[in-house]
């Protein structure tokens, strides 16, 4: 096991220069994610056009895996509709948790996260932004505001 399998250049680059970082104003929806184990916090902002994510940004503080994962996620889902995002979420979940998973070519740069599965303690760092995105998506259509604004990994 080489540390470079976890901290690939793409990850280090997105950690140092996170894309789509900062508040999105105006936003149609947002949600907060929190990993109480390590203190990571992030907020995902969405601007929707019907079922499609027109724009997405995030802000927060976290480790390299959590920051890079969120940055890569915003690049991957901008312009995608909810159904495609659901499919992508499933693929990411397999990538992060299944030892035998072969990176799906459709994952593109997100495949850089495949090293995380060798470090079980770090899987939550990579998945926090995706769970937060799901909450933000649910809130975008939740007229009665019943979806909690915060998700936690614990």
């Amino acid at each position: 096991m080489d540390l470079k399998d976890l901290y690939r250049d793409v990850i280090l680059d997105h950690n140092k220069k996170p894309r789509n970082f900062g508040k999105l104003e105006p936003a149609d929806s947002s949600a907060d994610g929190h990993n109480p184990l390590c203190g990571d916090r992030l907020t995902v902002f969405l601007r929707m056009s019907g079922e499609r994510v027109e724009d997405i940004r995030f802000e927060g503080k976290g480790c390299a895996i959590s920051t890079a994962s969120a940055s890569l996620m915003t690049e991957a889902i901008k312009g995608k509709d909810k159904a495609d995002i659901g499919t992508l979420f499933g693929k990411i979940h397999s990538l992060l948790t299944q030892q035998t998973a072969v990176a799906d070519p459709s994952l593109g740069k997100l495949a850089a996260l495949s090293g995380v599965r060798e470090y079980p303690a770090r899987v939550k760092c990579a998945s926090l932004c995706w769970h937060t995105l799901n909450a933000a998506l649910e809130r975008s259509t939740d007229a009665r505001n019943e979806t909690p604004a915060t998700v936690s990994t614990e």
Partner: protein, 417 residues
Amino acid sequence: MAATASQAVPGPVLDVERVRRDFPILDRTVNGHPLVYLDSGASSQRPVAVLRAVEEYETHSHANIHRGVHALSQAATEAFEGARERVRRYINARSTKEIIFVRGTTEAINLVAQSFARPRFRAGDEIIVTALEHHANIVPWQMVCEQTGCTLKVAPINKRGELLFDEYVKLLSPRTKLVAIAHVSNALGTILPVKRIVDTAHAHGAVVLVDGAQAVPHAHVDVRALGCDFYAFSGHKVYGPTGIGVLYGREELLQSMPPWQGGGDMILTVSFEKTTYADLPAKFEAGTPNISGAVGLAAAMDYVESLGIDAIAAHEHRLVELATAELQKIPGIQIVGTAANKASIVSFTLDGVHPHDLGTILDHEGVAVRTGHHCAMPLMTFLGLPATARASFGVYNTEKDVASLVAALGKAREVFG
């Protein structure tokens, strides 16, 4: 405490290489490197003497205690009550009635919160804690505040992690019913001036609980010299097993408190109309306790005393000073917690590398440190940090371990460029 930065600590020298041979786990490798265990603040490792004592008890002497006339029950009872006497001597309590076996520090504090504080505190009463407490010495008091309407006050610290003693004294008033403080901060290593805190609290009629989880492994603790009313600690941080800990309480206070949990072993007589409770310490030990844990804890205390707590403190103090000096030479390292009086702990951050990433990279090099908020979120908020990495030293650590930590931090800087 013996270990302070301002005074040289003469005294007996520890034969660390011999000590290391007492801890079999130190022979193992982690990720292809020899284990460098710098997480004794979270849980220390156990020497063979403790492992053997537990095995010996379980193999030859186990039965339930206080229950049978048969030989094994008597042997188990003797072992358990013998452990209580061992603990009494270790902290110099007046009587074994003052030694309550619990699961750990957390349970000890909760016992005091629910049995001492809850029945007698009212709206308007105040509990004082410090800004550097572990969650285990914050949350139980918040629960009491919710239950009784009393108020939690927080004595502030400075950025070095030292209690602002004058500010603490200003919080004291006739409303102060209880002061709950750490003896040694688990996140920063600060040693608090317990004796002065106790004296000033007592002058205002307040009772004092000391969370001694991080102090007992590193210093001679004498509860009568400290004058505290309650003292709580865990076995697994002083080279004993997990799941066993101690609440020391002054006898007259423990006598005045109702039982916390009901069940077997804590009663004199039971009928459906009325139950009378057993005397101390059984009153607070409902159910079958962790007998082998108590036996292991007693063995751990024998082991520590055989090495000499002053020798251990002096050894760890040298390591803290060395680690502090070596880490400060690394560009981008900030030491978090620079109190004049510190024990056994060096908390730090490295610019550009989140502590969580640091923990993974160090582990890759076989170096085990704790990373995160150290169950002290209010302290981290005060320091403006989400987390730190923490190296904590035990009796078996060496100068070489410090060198391995420094080398592994170099690796982290390399990875993150």
